[in-house]
């Protein structure tokens, strides 16, 4: 294996550049929000049903570890990511009108999964 220790000079980030960049980033965010508020006065229709097969318990995935559409999610599994615990999630995306899920691992401490876990914990206690 090719391990190399380079004595690196600490990259100095120019504070003026940071300030300038942040200004532009905020402007872009704001502009994006504003444009949507103006454009979409009418509320969009909601089409957020989670396909039932996603809920077809974990057992199925245990067997072959595949997403519902048969595409492999195996390569996403990042076993070697040190001590930080990771949680497996299914990311639901649309391809045209077709729904697909892919497995991903997200950090344990991500706010996204905090509430789910709390709920699970609560359920376990019952």
């Amino acid at each position: 294996d090719d391990e190399v220790h380079v004595r690196q000079k600490v990259a100095e980030v120019d504070p003026l550049e940071v300030a300038d960049f942040d200004r532009e980033l905020r402007a872009l965010m704001q502009e994006s929000l504003d444009s949507r508020k103006l454009e979409l006065r009418s509320r969009p229709t909601i089409n957020m049903m989670i396909p039932m097969n996603v809920f077809e318990g974990p057992t199925k995935e245990h067997h072959h570890g595949r997403g519902i559409d048969g595409e492999s999610g195996d390569e996403t599994i990042d076993e070697g990511s040190g001590g930080t615990k990771e949680i497996r999630v299914k990311v639901l995306v649309k391809r045209g009108n077709k729904q697909q899920t892919k497995q991903m691992y997200i950090p344990h401490d991500c706010s996204l999964v905090q509430s789910t876990k709390q709920k699970e914990a609560a359920e376990l206690e019952e």
């Binding site: 380079v6 980033l25 957020m48 990771e86 497995q103």
Partner: protein
């Protein structure tokens, strides 16, 4: 120089350069990059921050005001445009993830309006934990990985200013590259080389324009070398091909025709012959300056005509293309060299690494002479280090040492060892020595040189292909026979022949322990799928950096550069490129960076009296003699050396220098006449022509001496013709028993030109084994400090003489005070 075949068009490193590499830094890990989805842009960027506050993709989106991205097909989510699951909005600045309240299912949802739609709250979604896609100026790292520290270190170190500049440039030229930012104007001096480089891209930015300059100059020079009124002597080679013999007069030191060069022969036609031209390769250069050109096509050759031909040089860009390709590979392909070597070559501070290998019990190798202490030390320490420099002063056995190193490397079982040198001569010598250890060696020659005879023919790939299976059963052999007999094959047979040959070439190359080729030859397409962890480059101080890089970027983890930075460096013809530092070898830069070369210390070439001055002047007095005075005495040779047992003399010359007929070189008639007298004296005393070498820094003088000796020599003409008369530069790496050095310059008001370079003087003084005669004007030469030292040395030892050869007397000529002379 070596160039590849004509029948293959090879795009260097094609396939290595990924389209999806981050346009800022070059990182190309699919899990780390996304494509900007704006149709006019479609550029890829990674999620590392590098030297900026935001990640590269976020930098791009902000600076270009682009808002959509698409993931890579090999990323965990596959080729996916990031969009709101509900409304399809693709503005990444609005997107974030939410998760289902009951299951570990997440979706992307836009902040406005979908997140604020009340209806969603009633469904299974937890809207309270909306998690923005871009957080802290970076994409969510679990979605788009941040490249590892190693990946980032190997990437281009782009600054915020550069990002702003290139984004500005993309607005008018979407295909612009970072290199375009640094491109010098047409009349600008090129950026000079430096000691340390931020990254391989900066390295490329410096060297690529220099190589371009040199290539342009080389092309211009060579293509202007057309010669008319050439007289041909026709012949047929063993392979049934037409060979044209002719004299191709060269004017100056600048263009040296070498075997393998391509020339076009033309005949404008006459009443009986149509106009005709054909291209061929130089297969031989005779001592009489005759060129042997093997023509590619043998049909329609006007063999009954002998006069009135024209010859042009056919310039090939192959060697320069390969250097450019190697630099590109070095930058974009992180497997090209190990991380340690990558950072070390760029001058980054790297923690010392040792190679973990069990050392052999003895460091010599079978078939080679016993090694001396400094050679053993060199072999031992090289085997333990990823990067080593070996300095081999003249005659110190660097070829044997190199061969021993290669032997032990090959025995370590880390795959094939690649052995290179800039010149074919050096590669042949090394191949021969390595083969003597019993290792299986393949000497890969450029296709254009296959007809050029080689002392190690049996090791060459083309020879081995021809002789692998010569039984009647071998189809390749049958086709080869047919081709040799007929000259050509039918197109289907030719196809079959080529395929069989390629397979056989691969089979033989793969079974070798060691592959030997020139540095440029390492870029041969036939090696493109080979990987070499261990690479040794001999004569590396005579190669430019990009030339050295060609063999290194094939996967090097352990490299050995052998050379001597106290002798002449690479020949750079373009002054602009030379001024900018292209003539500095990688070996020299590594020395400047603090890599200490291991010096071989015992010389086996020169009579101890001859090694004394070079040792003191160029090697801090460390050169020891491995030969004794007795071993360098030549009984029966009666030459008027002023001091017996000191076979050296400086023969004071006061003749005038002249400008040669070509107007660009110098000659000195008196010196030439005296060279002939000395040669005659040697010959009369029993020395044979092959023992004598006449060297001079000037082409004008070289040509004049050859001419003068054959016309005025008092012995048989043939004897003089057999004596090699050459430039100092072309004698580097070689030796003769007796050397006669004609200095030529004799003008008190001008500099001494070529002689001013100490490294050239070192080379000139260290070619002789038994004796040296120097002819020159002490009044002129003594102005230069080093020459002053040499003259003083000769004077102190009573070897500075004048008068007729049969009555030499100590010279009382006064030296000038030395001062620095700039030419």
């Amino acid at each position: 120089e070596d160039t590849g075949g004509d029948d293959e068009v090879f795009e260097y490193g094609k396939g290595d350069f990924t389209e999806h590499a981050c346009r800022y830094c070059g990182v190309s890990n699919p899990a780390c990059v996304v494509r900007c989805n704006v149709p006019s842009c479609r550029k890829w960027f990674c999620n590392s921050r590098g030297n900026t506050s935001g990640s590269h993709i976020v930098n791009h989106l902000v600076r270009a005001k682009h808002k959509e991205v698409c993931l890579h097909k090999d990323s965990p989510l596959g080729e996916t445009i990031l969009e709101c699951y509900n409304c399809g909005c693709r503005n990444v600045f609005l997107l974030g993830f939410i998760s289902a309240t009951t299951e570990s299912v997440v979706v992307l949802l836009c902040r406005e309006p979908c997140l604020s739609v009340n209806a969603l709250k009633d469904m299974n979604w937890d809207l309270s934990q909306w998690c923005p896609l871009i957080d802290d100026r970076c994409f969510l790292q679990w979605l788009l990985k941040v490249p590892s520290e190693q990946e980032q270190l190997r990437a281009r170190q782009i600054s915020a200013q550069q990002i702003n500049k290139i984004e500005e440039l993309w607005k008018t030229n979407p295909d612009a590259t970072l290199e375009d930012l640094e491109k010098p104007g047409v009349d600008d001096e090129p950026q000079p080389v430096v000691l340390k480089y931020e990254d391989a891209y900066q390295y490329q930015n410096v060297f690529a324009p220099l190589i371009k300059l040199e290539a342009d100059y080389d092309k211009m020079m060579k293509e202007s070398q057309s010669k008319d009124n050439i007289t041909i002597r026709w012949d047929i080679g063993l392979n049934k091909k037409r060979v044209a013999y002719f004299v191709f007069p060269k004017e100056d030191n600048e263009l040296r025709l070498v075997p393998g060069d391509e020339l076009r022969l033309r005949y404008s036609g006459d009443a009986a012959h149509p106009s005709w031209h054909s291209v061929g390769h130089v297969i031989k250069l005779t001592a009489q300056e005759e060129v042997a050109l093997e023509l590619r096509a043998s049909q329609g050759v006007p063999v009954d005509v002998t006069h009135g031909f024209s010859v042009d040089f056919v310039w090939k860009s192959t060697s320069f293309d390969r250097m450019q390709g190697a630099m590109k590979t070095f930058a974009v392909d992180e497997t090209s060299v190990s991380g340690y070597i990558y950072h070390h070559l760029l001058g980054h501070e790297v923690e010392m690494q040792m190679v973990r290998n069990t050392l052999p019990r003895r460091f010599g190798a079978p078939g080679l002479p016993e090694l001396n202490a400094s050679q053993v030390f060199a072999v031992k320490s090289v085997l333990q280090k990823p990067i080593s420099l070996i300095q081999g002063p003249p005659g110190t056995g660097k070829t044997v040492t190199s061969a021993a190193i290669v032997y032990h490397m090959a025995k370590q079982g880390q795959g094939q060892v690649l052995v290179c040198a800039p010149s074919n001569v050096a590669v042949d010598q090394l191949a021969e020595k390595i083969s003597a250890t019993g290792l299986k060696v393949v000497r890969l020659c450029a296709k254009s040189r296959e007809a050029v005879s080689s002392p190690v023919e049996h090791l060459t790939l083309h020879y081995q292909v021809r002789h692998l299976d010569t039984s009647e059963k071998s189809e390749l052999y049958k086709l080869q026979q047919l081709k040799d007999e007929q000259g050509e094959l039918s197109s289907s047979d030719e196809k079959k022949y080529k395929a069989l040959k390629r397979d056989t070439e691969r089979e033989i190359s793969q079974s070798a322990d060691v592959i030997c080729c020139t540095c440029v030859g390492a870029g041969d397409p036939r090696l493109s799928n080979f990987r070499f962890r261990q690479v040794l480059i001999d004569e590396s101080t005579q190669a430019t950096e990009p030339e050295c890089l060609i063999p290194l970027v094939l996967g090097a983890k352990q490299i050995v550069l052998v050379g001597d930075h106290c002798q002449l460096g690479p020949v750079i013809m373009c002054k602009k490129a030379a001024r900018a530092g292209l003539a500095q070898s990688l070996f020299e830069r590594l020395v400047l960076l603090g890599v200490k070369p291991i010096r071989l210390q015992v010389q086996y070439r020169m009579h101890p009296a001859l090694s004394e001055f070079p040792s003191n002047s160029f090697y801090e007095g460390t050169l020891q003699n491995g030969v004794t005075i007795n071993e360098r005495q030549s009984p029966g040779i009666d030459f008027p050396w002023p001091v017996p047992n000191r076979p050296m003399l400086f023969y004071v010359q006061m003749g005038q220098e002249e400008i040669s007929a070509s107007g660009t070189s110098y000659l000195n008639r008196t010196e030439a006449a005296n060279v002939e007298k000395i040669v005659t004296t040697f010959l009369k005393s029993g020395v044979v022509p092959s023992q004598i070498g006449v060297i001079t820094p000037y082409e004008g003088q070289r040509a004049y001496i050859v001419n003068y000796m054959s016309r005025n020599g008092s012995l048989r003409q043939q004897l003089y013709k057999e004596i090699e008369v050459a430039s100092v530069d072309s004698f580097q790496g070689r030796e003769k028993d007796y050397i006669i050095l004609s200095c030529v310059r004799s003008n008190e008001h001008q500099g001494i030109g070529f002689l001013n370079d100490p490294r050239r003087l070192n080379v000139a003084l260290t070619r002789a084994r038994y004796g040296i005669v120097i002819l020159g004007n002490p009044k002129v030469l003594s102005k230069q400090p080093l020459w002053n030292g040499l003259l003083t040395h000769y004077k102190e030892h009573e070897c500075l003489v004048e008068g007729p050869l049969n009555n030499l007397k100590q010279s009382m000529v006064q030296f000038q005070k030395p001062k620095k002379i700039y030419n």
